[in-house]
Subunit: 547 residues, 2 copies
């Protein structure tokens, strides 16, 4: 007797689970109050479960329900989450509902996650960039269940995610076409969605949430907190990098350093005659500090990973700049945005918490396992790139007939961090964290080999011009100020590095320190930005210091 | 008087064009016979136009129409095409309808495109990998018009692309959310599509095609053409790479070399006891030569860039393995597949036409500018990768505390090509082509720095173990056979390289040359594969040599 192999085990399991939950379902729709029972019927021990935690938008109704399931019925889950953001994301592990975690970013939970790993309460699969985590959903982390959030859902189950599309279509696709179960929490059930972001055919279960999904304004930086040191660094970056390399397309990391640059373009950049010459094309969350540059005509296009609270009306009124649908609302897309940030932009510029003597950097510090989100992806040189742009080509090494260009990867830091500790350190804390957490490799965010420039308040190190590790170290020391590492530099070394164009001080770039004043910013407060936006930008309450 | 700036120029232009074409449209639908007039109304001189040419599926009705427009009305287009496959794709440039081209692959048109560039009949923007071309659609190549192909379209304009989804959703998204015009040729208009692959909200114009879109079976390799040398190389690769490095996930390039490996897994691999131990997870077009391995239980999952003619029924019956929708048909996705092939697999293994003395390789040869498709993307080491797997980690250099793993990138070639010319050359023809075509860089497909292994009928060079360029050259010479490059190697050099594990000959791997017989293949013909598939695989007529 030959045993007949089944090729439909996933499909059969899905059908069985949905049948089991049948009494809780009216077509695809479930009742809000049945959410815990529903998850108990649809999720089995050991399942790979993708729980949508973008860094902004959270499937918070579903995560709060998942932590309430009966641990005797649902346990040992393998959670896959791009962002571990909410307390219950880790409560799942405390309660034994989940066992293993693959993730990308753990900003708000970075201390607790670090402790839980030390205490063996949580088994880490690995830390990823967003893009590689999404990629694995189609290869070796194929989900059994995905839990996602939508703004509006119509009676057929078509999803509208609007503005905050983020990663939802990508994670839904991985489940919908591999007999995974797609469960959606909806802010609202409507007769007709403004547009379809994800077709109903891809969706199994819709459940109205008790309250709208959590959404954080993570990319808003209030200009009133930008310091004159940051302005000085911004001026240097504009002259010594944007202008020098003819940068046309860029991704800015989150932070006050890059916010300063955004607010200097319409003032300082304009005086330099750079308008129309640099950075027309952006991959970026819609950060309010870019509004003055947009209004001044600096920006031709912005594609976004996600939305930003308060920017809805402004974006809707600027469809020439943003990706806006026929319905008048932006569509974001985290997977495609990360691909664009990796492969299609001239430059990534961001910040970090520590840089070591070789130029490796990390935001992982003692007791904090934050992950990196998209930074390693965008802050690396994709060696598969085959198209050329002037900025990329400007980093081509001389003398190699088979040479090619390189992406500009810029780290911009003050020599001492907010905690008064040196950013420049001989060894990254990440080296200790590797041991404590038992990681396969040191959690480096951006490697030295990918880092082409470092900007501090002292000057710019053009690392791509160095031709040995010793020279690279000297260049970093030269701009490391009065940190212990910086004190190793001496006048002769500095003079030599300046003469060879490996290090530039403000005066080498024609940047006057005395001009680095807050008055040089195109906006000095969020209220100024509201004015620039002609009242279209609507800051969240926590950022409103005025009536 | 202040001039009021418009922020809706793209939206207004789109509205105006669609209004202009209004007499040809009934809602979103146009008549087949009006296609040329329709394109003349909707496309303007200088537009960026994405014309869907996947390497398999072609928007052939629309491309044939575009070449018939009045050049006085539509001219100087900037064409963006992942694949230049059909004669009219280049006729557009001969006629002056188009002027500039950004592309990825030009297999069937590679000779003509090379000549046209020399004759200045065509201005090349650049040659890209698929993924970077898609990425630029969101940054600096935002389309005004996209022309795509769908299988079925319902009365609302929802698209079903089925099996051959490929790049359609990605290129449609770039236009639909930036006020570009999305024009779709449909094989069939139906009341209800089997599933929605692209929502109607994203689509502007649908036109029934006069005949179904062109579709080529590009990934089918008939086992009867696999040689014993290829079988020998396949055996070496299985022992010396797949087994040695514990490879779990892989992308195979197209060709008889990798087809041989696929057909050796259920025979040779089984004898070695490797079943269940290696390559459960694949990113791959659904190639028929993998059927015996699937049927033998080697393969847990396959995600695909596109479909393959004849594989429809087989895939539909194997949803545990392939990505199949609730409707029972596969969904492919070229953009996500390329991301997975870049970031989520242990190994890329493919072939090439030339390898230089340093290990750089290219398929661009004199007079042929073929482009590279996805090979440079998948055949490169993504330095942004942060997760670890045993295979990746096995290439980690010793002694560097901040070290990390590397993707396996394997080139597998016979020392002499089909044209009897050496594959191993001191200098790539691509160096000449760069000059002739005025390209910014030499069109290298895979750089030496990314290449970790080369397999020939002589042996395997473990390039990742070399620690100088001189040693790398010696390792390549040692496996380059009787090519002029290979003749530079000598017995002592070879003995030294073998002793240090940098080169392995068949005997070093326990591979017996005498076993490399066609009878070792799990299938020796496509007919055998049909049998393996239990009659579910249906080879295209051109591959049917029987009944």
């Amino acid at each position: 007797m030959t045993e007949v192999k089944s090729w439909t085990t996933r499909r059969d399991a899905k059908r069985e689970r949905l049948a089991h939950a049948g009494s809780l379902l009216d077509g695809k729709f479930a009742q809000t109050e049945d959410v815990v029972a529903l998850l108990e019927h649809l999720i089995k021990p050991g399942d790979k479960v993708v729980l949508e935690g973008d860094n902004q938008k959270q499937a918070s109704f579903l995560s709060q329900a998942l932590v309430r399931v009966d641990q005797a019925r649902v346990h040992d889950l393998h959670m896959i989450m791009s962002s571990v953001s909410r307390p219950e994301h880790l409560d799942l592990f405390e309660k034994g509902i989940a066992k293993k975690l693959d993730f990308s970013f753990a900003g708000p939970q970075s201390t607790r996650i670090s402790q839980m790993i030390s205490d063996h309460k949580l088994e880490v699969g690995d830390i990823h960039t967003y893009l590689e985590l999404f990629a694995r959903l189609f290869i070796d982390l194929i989900p059994n269940v995905v839990l996602v959030a939508a703004d509006k859902v119509d009676r057929d189950g078509n999803l509208y995610t609007g503005f905050n599309t983020e990663e939802t279509p990508t994670i839904v696709e991985a489940a919908a076409f591999k007999d995974g179960i797609v469960i959606v929490q909806a802010n609202e059930i409507v007769d007709k969605v403004p547009r379809v972001d994800i077709p109903a055919d891809w969706v199994d279960v819709v459940i109205p949430a008790d309250e709208p999904y959590q959404l954080e304004a993570l990319f808003t930086r209030d200009p009133q907190n930008i310091t004159e040191l940051q302005i000085l660094m911004g001026m240097m970056a504009i002259r010594g990098i944007y202008e020098k390399h003819n940068v046309q397309s860029v991704n800015h990391g989150i932070g006050f350093n890059t916010a300063a640059i955004e607010l200097l373009l319409p003032t300082y950049g304009e005086k330099l005659g750079l308008k129309g010459k640099i950075v027309p094309n952006w991959e970026l969350n819609p950060t309010p500090t870019l509004i003055p540059a947009i209004e001044s005509g600096w920006v031709k296009s912005i594609h976004s990973f996600g939305g930003e609270v308060g920017m809805e009306k402004y974006i809707a009124a600027r469809p020439d700049v943003f990706f806006v649908g026929p319905d008048g609302t932006m569509r974001s897309n985290r997977a495609l945005g990360q691909v664009a940030g990796q492969y299609a932009v001239d430059m990534f510029i961001g910040s970090t918490l520590q840089i070591d003597q070789f130029g490796n950097s990390s935001t992982v510090t003692s007791g904090r396992l934050s992950g990196f989100g998209g930074a390693p992806n965008m802050g690396s040189n994709p060696t598969g790139r085959r198209h050329s742009t002037p900025a990329w080509q400007s980093l081509r090494p001389a003398g190699d007939p088979l040479g090619k260009g390189q992406k500009l990867v810029v780290q911009m830091v003050e020599t001492f961090g907010a905690n008064k500790k040196p950013v420049f350190v001989d060894h990254l804390d990440a080296e200790e964290v590797q041991k404590e957490a038992g990681l396969a490799n040191v959690p480096v965010m951006i490697y030295s080999e990918d880092t082409t420039h470092i900007v501090t308040e002292e000057g710019i190190a053009y690392l791509y011009k160095t031709d040995s590790m010793a020279e690279r170290k000297a260049a970093i020391e030269a701009i490391a100020g009065v940190t212990p590492m910086g004190l190793r530099s001496n006048a002769q070394q500095l003079a030599d590095l300046r003469a060879r164009g490996i290090v530039a001080l403000p005066e080498d770039l024609g940047v006057k320190r005395g001009q680095a004043k807050r008055s040089l910013l195109a906006a000095q407060s969020l209220q100024d930005i509201v004015e620039w936006s002609k009242g279209l930008y609507n800051p969240p309450a926590k950022f409103r210091s005025w009536s």
